[in-house]
Every structure is written in C-alpha cells, then in structure tokens.
Amino acid sequence: MNKILIIGAGTAGTMMAVHLSRRLNRKEWAITVLDKDENHYYQPGYLFIPFGIYTWRDVVRKGSKYMPEGVDYLLGEAEQIVADRNRVKLKDGREITYDILIIATGTTIHPEETEGMVENGWRENIFDFYTVEGAEALGKKLPDFKGGRVAIHVAEMPIKCPVAPLEIAFMTDWYFAKKGLRKNVEIDFVTPLPGAFSKPATAKVMGHMLGERRINMVADFGTERVEPGKLISYDNRTVEYDLLITTPTNMGDALMARSGLGDDLNFVPTDKHTLQTSAKDNIFALGDATNLPSSKAGSVVHFQSEILAENILSYIKGKELKASFDGHSNCFIESGYGKAFLIDFNYDLDPVEGTYPFPIVGPFSLLKETRLNHLGKLSMKFVYWNILLRGIPVPGITSKMGRLGKIIPADSGTV
C-alpha cells in the first residue's frame, strides 16, 4: 500500500482529500490527513463577527465532518518533516511515513513580530480579526466605543485575504454611521503598500472608495513599533489611535523552520505553476502555506486543489506535471451598506470591469459596487460548507481564469 499524507485539514487539505479520494485507486493508495486542531474554520466569516452579523457558530465546524469516507483523519501536531527519510515526526512522539507529502498548513498571525504590539494593549485597545477570538473580542469592544481615532492597520505583506483590511475599514465606517456616531470617529487606513491594494486598477477604485467614505489613507507605512496609542514607522511617522484594528505579520507554521523547509516567513518555496516544492519531488504544497505570488485566499486554494490533484496523478504515473496553475483568484470585497465589489484576476491579468462568471448576464459585476455582489458574499458561507469543501463543481467557475465577460483594455494585464 502506498501512502499520501496531507498535513493540515483546513480549506486546502480538506479539498485535496476530497479530490484524491475520488481519483486515486483506493486499493493502492491510503490517504491520511493530519491536523493539530479538531476544528475547521470558515475564515472569511470572521469579518462579520465584530459587527454582530455572525457569531463563532457560523464559522466553526468539526474538521472530521468534512473528511471523505475511507480517509484517515489524525489529530496531532507535526513537529518535523524529515524530507530525506520520507517521514513526519509528531509532537507526541508518533512517526508517520509517506510516499507523497502534501503541505497544507496555512498561515497564522504573529503580533509578537511587531515591537510593542503585544505589550501595549493587545485585546484591550488593539484587536485582530484574523482569529475567532480576536473577532469576538473586537465585537465586545465596539459597542463601548463612542468616539475617537480608529486605525485599520496592516503590519507587513504578504497577508492572507489581502482585501480583508479594506473590508473591515468599510464595515467600521458603516457600523459607526448606522449608530449615528460617525462624526465622532476618525478612521485611518495604514498600509505598507503604496496604495489601497497591490494591483493598480483595484487600488484606484478602492482608494476612491476610501475617500468617499472619509477614511484617511496612510500609505507606504513600514511599521517599526507600537507604543501606547501610537503606531511608529521606520521613517519616523506617527499615527495615533484610540482603537487599533490590525492585521499582524502573517507567517507559515513554525514546522517549516524546524524542518528547514521554509523561507524567512516560514512559507514553503513552491513552483508557482506545478505546486511541487523545491525541497523534494515527492513533496507538494498549496494554499496559504506556500510562497506563491498569488493571493492567499480560499478561492485560490479551490483552483489550486484541482491543478494539484491532476499533477499528483501524473506524478504517480511517472509523467510530466502538465497541469499549470495560472494564479487565478477571485474575491468579493464587502463594502458595507449592503453592497460589495467583486474582483477576478490571475498572474498575468489585473482585475478589470465586466460581468462574472458569465458574459452580460453575470450575475455578478466586476470592480463595481452592487447589492448582488453582497448577496454573493453572504451566500459564500453556505457555498463553502456545502459545495466547495465537498468538491462539488460550481457552474462557470473554473480553475483557469476565464476572459469572457471581462472588459480587457488593450494595455492591461501583463504585470
């Protein structure tokens, strides 16, 4: 019996287990999935928790519930990957051998990477919304906040779901507007990027939107440290706040450092098209755990999982890895007031206007704020738990980015 081991039962690990359990000959291949956390999280839902729209019940399920039949689901933490001996040591002393390893360990926040962030008010007046606990704590704080300065902050790139800080900014504006308190609240958007987003066309639309919402943009801000009530940049600029909503440094799991498999942020160097790691032929990686220049997002994981399943089948047959990931990413950008944007792009083409996934009929509009996009965003919770995680195809949504329905300017794209 040959063995495939998947480390991580989040979005990526679960989708891989589903694809492989269907496509591999189960008499020849055993699939094991390992995770240190018995829970699986619908992370896009965290955005709605601080505003009382979702609670933790909407976003947490038992991971085992989503494992296909016949897949071994193991609870335990991987301590070290011993690549030359094809084995993984667990924290509790167990060892697992494999023929093929898939790394799907995601990324988590590290506030301790920024000097002073943990010491000077973490979860008192400094909150993240990248964990259930952080989002809930912020939800408890917001009702007491009657006025003052709110800073929405990104510590360092890359972060998962790079539009989430924009969304929380729009939602915060909306929240205080609804309560009639907006005039007492100043909102700053503080980012290390030169604009609101990394892709120019989107940065322009989002920059405009921030202006309309009277959210003040503080760009190129490389955060050196946090002092009580103050963010200080490497070039000595200061942003004062009463409430800091931050996205701390995102890092891959420390397992990579212990195994000598990660870069400076513990992300795994991986071929951006085939998803094979540079460490060894029989080790593959997908999702937030890799160093790929694509967005770290659930939609990306969904597209990558189809490509990787294909390549693993080729690898087993000793064939060339022909399936190629094109960097396809799409995401809704919730903008408050019951509306949202949608963007769809890949390695080569920046987000453009148009309709998605079908020409003319859409139903969603690209790079425009609509009510239907918002309904799309809200429906994602159901779609995630019941369709995407179960590997059921969605009509019109393909792993390769489609060009139909997009208005592609002659000079756009190739970055």
Binding site: E156, M157, P158, P162, L193, P194, S198, K199, D220, G222, E224, Y234, D235, D263, D264, L265, P293, S294, S295, S329, V415
Partner: protein
C-alpha cells in the same frame, strides 16, 4: 524598453529605470544610479547592495526587507535611513536587480 547612460556606459532599462541586463551593471553604474536617487554610496550601502546581489544569484528572487534584516543582518531602520522613501525599490534599482513585485 529604453536605454540610458550611466558613467559613460549605455545600459538597457525598463520604463521605471531598472536595468534589464545584469551583465551591464558595474559599480560605477551603481554609483551613477544612486546619484540620480540623491544617494551617495557608503560602505554600509555597499553591504546592502552586495547582499542583494549575492542573494539574488543564489535564490533567483529579490530579498524582502525582512530577509535583508534576518539573513543579511541589516536593521530595517538603517535601510530606511540609507535609502529613504521606499528602501527596497531604490536598493534594487541601484543593485541592477528587478523592481520588487508587490504581493497580492
């Protein structure tokens, strides 16, 4: 694609002024690009440039500021002082390396 003259040498550059052919880079070219950026290169600047070039040759990618700090041993604060307003963009340009790609 355009050409430019630095230190009496014609080099190929991108629209935003990054060398496209690493073999055209010399220490004199670097000095001339730095001068254009309003920077006079000192030993500490050279330490950064040498690290970036060596690391690029080894990894095929431009080091991040975190990597320059953690692996190259140069404090981020110092980088901002040496190459004001966008240290990585400027240091890469002077080192004759590609423009940093912003992450998505």
């Amino acid at each position: 694609m355009a050409t430019k003259e630095y230190a009496g040498k014609t080099v190929n550059v991108t629209d935003d002024g990054y060398l496209t052919d690493p073999s055209q880079w010399t220490r004199e070219v670097a000095q001339a690009i730095a001068a254009e950026e309003g920077i006079t290169l000192t030993n500490t600047h050279w330490k950064v440039i040498d690290f970036l070039k060596k690391d690029f040759a080894a990894t095929g990618a431009l080091a991040s500021m975190r990597r320059i700090n953690k692996t190259g041993g140069i404090a981020t604060k110092d980088l901002y002082e040496m190459f004001p307003d966008g240290p990585l963009k400027k240091a890469a340009r002077i080192a004759g390396l590609p423009r940093p790609t912003s992450c998505v």
